[in-house]
Homo-oligomer: 435 residues x 2
Amino acid sequence: MSTITEIEVHDLRFPTSLDAAGSDAMNVDADYSAAYLRIVTDGPLYGCGFTFTIGRGNEVVCAAIRAWADRLVGRDAGTLDPTALYRELKTDSQLRWLGPEKGAVHLAMAAVMNAVWDLAARRAGVPLWRLLAQMTPEDLVEVADLQYLSDVLTAEEALELLRRQEPTRQERIAELERTGYPCYTTSAGWLGYSEEKLRRLAQEAVDQGYTHIKLKVGRDLAEDKRRLAIAREVLGPQGHLMIDANQVWDVGQAVEWVRALAEFDLHWIEEPTSPDDVLGHAAIRRQVAPVGVATGEHGMNRVLFKQLLQAEAIDFCQIDACRLASVNEIVAVLLMAAKFGVPVCPHAGGVGLCELVQHLSIVDYVAVSGDLTGRVTEFVDHLHEHFVDPCVVRDGAYVLPSQPGYSAEIRAETLASHSFPDGSYWRERAAAEAR
Amino acid sequence: MSTITEIEVHDLRFPTSLDAAGSDAMNVDADYSAAYLRIVTDGPLYGCGFTFTIGRGNEVVCAAIRAWADRLVGRDAGTLDPTALYRELKTDSQLRWLGPEKGAVHLAMAAVMNAVWDLAARRAGVPLWRLLAQMTPEDLVEVADLQYLSDVLTAEEALELLRRQEPTRQERIAELERTGYPCYTTSAGWLGYSEEKLRRLAQEAVDQGYTHIKLKVGRDLAEDKRRLAIAREVLGPQGHLMIDANQVWDVGQAVEWVRALAEFDLHWIEEPTSPDDVLGHAAIRRQVAPVGVATGEHGMNRVLFKQLLQAEAIDFCQIDACRLASVNEIVAVLLMAAKFGVPVCPHAGGVGLCELVQHLSIVDYVAVSGDLTGRVTEFVDHLHEHFVDPCVVRDGAYVLPSQPGYSAEIRAETLASHSFPDGSYWRERAAAEAR
């Protein structure tokens, strides 16, 4: 028996707006933030989880985390079943009303369930990817939330799909242990960076072994052309060049803008318009081919992904570890994407998204899709120093995590310094601004 | 000059779960709640607004209201332009991240903008519907948020549509002043009510002049048949009988269930599945015709409504005054629905939704669609006693509101009694439960 005694909730904010890291056409002054919780027990067992925001409003998500998590206190962490808990939380009709299954309460449910899955993996003494990759196909189907999805994927189809990959799981684990999971970098392409800085960072990326580079676009067409010319020059004709508009266009404008950039041989256009616009993405995709369409970092839930796949609206499926309600909802999306043959290329960056999604990409390859074709997971090189078990990238690939858990734990020093507004960093900054 | 000095935020909850009012297949124990704000100035001018929730989590929305509304303090309420403010709020990229344009922050933006529109109508000395119905077509198009909609509705088309109705606005106002705006009642059909109570309330509704009755369904098919038989018997063969499943079915199950109820000659099936599932609603609609499909009370934003219309997924468009971000987003949806020829039948009930949507239905008829065919606005007879200017229904129709504002002000006594957890009602109940 290991009783949950407390849910600590921390509002952590990092001053990324100071150097324009994270800047794009929609989000000009992001202060990367985590609404973070720690499940505390009366024994050594614990679990950490978070969701990601970009500043103001992080306190709203913290309030929602408390609304979901308070009911955990007093339960036995030694036997807590993440999937049973997930099903219990999602049927809380009062909290469900605030979404349903979207927005701040859903982000908060992601945070809570990330912590519960972290705890479950620690309890098993394995990294999360291995906990999932060791499950039988029957157990993994049970994990997946298939509600509202039966018109495209039944439990029987999901089981069949997982069984097909089961006999060769160990081979793929061995392969990934040798090669890592392929990634790409966005670190060079923030819109607030000068063209000189873009050229330097792109060159560094190529030197480090990256074959994919992504640039933010959508503020000014002439500027986009100048920046893409630099990136293409550095990357060479063989490399993959992606662009990300962060939702700034209407459908027709997206088509025109992307067509105007055709000369740069683009691999994908990411978030061309509202993330909710399934039919809009489908229309854009038909008109900008062969440029692929990618979206999903703001994909609110599995029902949206179902429709993006049904409508043939995307070429790349960008799940987010903190917007979907953790493993139970994400496995459902991985299964649908595998059925439709659409590669999953998770969104990362922010605070700790890289730490989480590496596990999900590994599970996708080992247990679900069995395929690396077209797969590449985002990597952004900042804020990793705040994590107890930071991700490691080598030669353009994520090295397989080996510590128990979901790599979600943030260092005690960071909790003390970056809690908002009372952490030492924020207090000192407020004092300096008052002077 | 009338300076905004404070934004009061009140977490108001009503114990509706005690008598099963509001109970349906998804929401079994709703405690109807309002996240309510009052814009206070240093003069007599003020504005009130709210969004609606069903209990737990109302504090999360209150936190989000504070995040949006704090920036209003210090501004001049005498010149505050609702539309300029709306555009300012929606481009706050940090708060936008928590949606975007959905969930708790969007509900909170609805509450804030409802209060700002209430203030604007009070300032003009007219009810909100008249403030809008007096605007020129040019000004009303400016009010509408058309971002992400240009692939189905351009500003020019919207203007053309409004101009067509402009010359005859006064005739329709005069008509509504004679007849009121037609409504239907859900008060009889809650799932937690016994069959005897259902029969009695349905009979009362018919006696009061209602020609439409709606029942909650989806818990048990045999039970649904018994209850629909009672309602159809009381209503007679000519009356319109609607059902509401509150999202409990997957797509295939919805089709089967609704077909199994064909003998009751149903007018519409409301919320058959996930409110996010545009393609699912379209599939259901094709398969359950001639039963109409209605949805929208959980329609998160105008982009969802755009797609429901594009995909020919709905026969009835059920906007909600507290889930869409107030007048600016709602007018955009009214315009799209008018273009597609789909009748707007607003969702109401809850706390104060009837008070708000009556204004919107009037604007739709007077200035936008110019049509009453198939239109009927929901009415639920509870909690009106808490409002300073409660809606009035006579002979199955809303009487036109005549007081200045958006009918959104809640009585001071109610703020004192039903604030959670410190209002007198909740303190007394907690004391009684502790005994």
